[in-house]
Symmetry: C2
Subunit: 313 residues, 2 copies
């Protein structure tokens, strides 16, 4: 219990991962409005857009327009995402902040179905990206390991396999002279539980004690906030989260796509645990309500409906 | 962490507390169908109805009809609830199982607004009930302390006040020669967090080491399952929960009435922690889907949308 961090860094995923899971057609101006509203809450980093093939992901066809439209706040990092060289070069043009990300999957089947790549092809692609990052003067960045806690196709992935796939990515960064800024363990399909979080975070730390572990948790099966608590108690100090839990489409027949844990609920848990997030909870709740207004439906987050409980009356 | 219980007892609150929060008009036959479906999941106890003034709570006007209609399964406890002598005597008539309950509130303002009673009048009413229990040969029963973790009117209740109100109820039972079977700490309005659960459970145990602590948690602000985990890790072995999270009406403009933690998500957490519940998770998920069908809307529980993750493929 004594490993609880004094402060954590939350990356807000709603505008990117959230809107990506919505049906196409959310107006660019509304995306910008949510990003600007989020920036005013004190959240330190916002994932704003992904630069990917608009034929595959029309939801992000306006990535450049988003980047150009945002009125920037000082002290906020406006990140973005890409999958390959072409996307990265568009991201460079956009002027958004560029996390030098390296990604892979614990599950080979997931990689095959989601990215249409073998593990070897994925590594090769990441190696080319890393060379591009060097050419653009980017230093270390985060490593993302998808399906680290399990996969709908393969079930639970044996820990040695998870570590081996992580080692591929970590090794690639180390060989390039840019060791990982952190290692993200992603619960892509919401298969984790608090015990699994403890075991896997522990194993990754044992193997790479110098690289901080980060968590990207989905609340697919209702255990997301308990998993986050397990991470916080281990001292994990970097989390992805999504305002309102944006990203889940339980009404769209795609339950496996449930969103990240709700940013405002993670922030509440932190506040109660004495962990600083830099976030104004009331303002973030207003942002969650705005997100609901934009998508025109109730989002999974509960705190935004109930409002903050004020312990002192 | 070593206090994790081998087995816990879950009381299913959906049919009583859940339907009580729904608009009136759920057909009695549908309530019975849900109770019978729940009974087949292995959940050991189901709170089926409350015997209260039908003018105040028309949702429970069919309590007797429910009791008469249920086809009983062996090994399942079919409980019910009441607030006063009259209700208790109706409950006796119903043939449902009778937990000899004694209840009160940490918050006096909540008691005043919810039950229209002063703390003294509440205690007097509970004393009369206890005498009736004796007259009907009932032994020890649970003590319920509402708003133990805070109140919308009073904010956080000082721990000494919470303990004093609990002591009133515990003392009443002890004086009657029927010491509490357990002490329920109820997070009536969803104000708890894992740290508060640890502090209050610890304080109650320090004061009454012989009486097991039980938890009645609402997921009003998204921390419910993390609060349950904190309780489980302390060895709390009795929980109320509600199938699908039934009981919350976030769309009905009454967010403070959010439901209990979802029974199936508590059962999943237990399964992952190696704690027995006796519940068949797949069958319980089917029951949650039935509950959604009955109320005609999506319930807050997420697991019933995603389905069980199968770690072994």
């Amino acid at each position: 219990m004594s490993d609880i961090p004094a402060r954590i860094h939350i990356v807000e995923e709603g505008p990117r991962e959230g809107f990506q899971a919505e049906p196409p057609g959310v107006p660019t101006a509304e995306k910008i409005r949510l990003i600007e509203t989020l920036a005013a809450t004190g959240v330190p980093e916002i994932d704003c857009a992904s630069f990917v093939n608009p034929k595959v992901l029309p939801q992000m066809a306006d990535a450049l327009g988003i980047a150009e439209g945002i009125r920037r706040e000082q002290g906020v990092t406006y990140s973005c995402m890409w999958l390959n060289d072409k996307g990265f070069l568009q991201a460079v043009e956009s002027g958004l902040n560029l996390p030098a990300l390296t990604s892979g999957s614990a599950s080979d089947t997931f990689l095959e179905r989601n990215n249409r790549r073998t593990p070897e092809a994925q590594l090769e692609g990441q190696r080319k990206l890393r060379a591009l990052y060097d050419a653009h003067g980017l230093g270390s960045g985060p490593v993302y390991l998808f399906t680290a806690f399990g996969c709908n196709y393969e079930g639970e992935i044996p820990q040695e396999k998870v570590l081996a796939r992580a080692a591929d990515l970590v090794g690639l960064c180390e060989e390039a002279g840019s060791p990982p800024a952190c290692i993200y363990l992603c619960d892509t399909i919401g298969a984790a539980d608090p015990g699994l979080v403890r075991r896997l975070v522990g194993a990754v730390r044992d193997r790479w004690p110098d690289y901080p572990v980060a968590l990207h948790l989905h609340d697919t099966r209702g255990l997301g906030i308990a998993n986050a608590m397990a991470g916080l108690e281990l001292g994990v100090a970097r989390f992805d989260a999504s305002v309102g839990g944006l990203g889940g489409c339980p009404f769209a027949g795609n339950p496996a796509a449930a969103g990240n844990i709700a940013t405002e609920e993670l922030a509440l848990l932190c506040e109660r645990m004495g962990i600083e997030t830099g976030i104004d909870l009331g303002a973030l709740i207003d942002a969650a309500r705005l997100a609901e207004e934009i998508v025109g439906r109730s989002l999974p987050g509960k705190l935004s409906k109930a409002g903050v409980f004020n312990p002192r009356r």
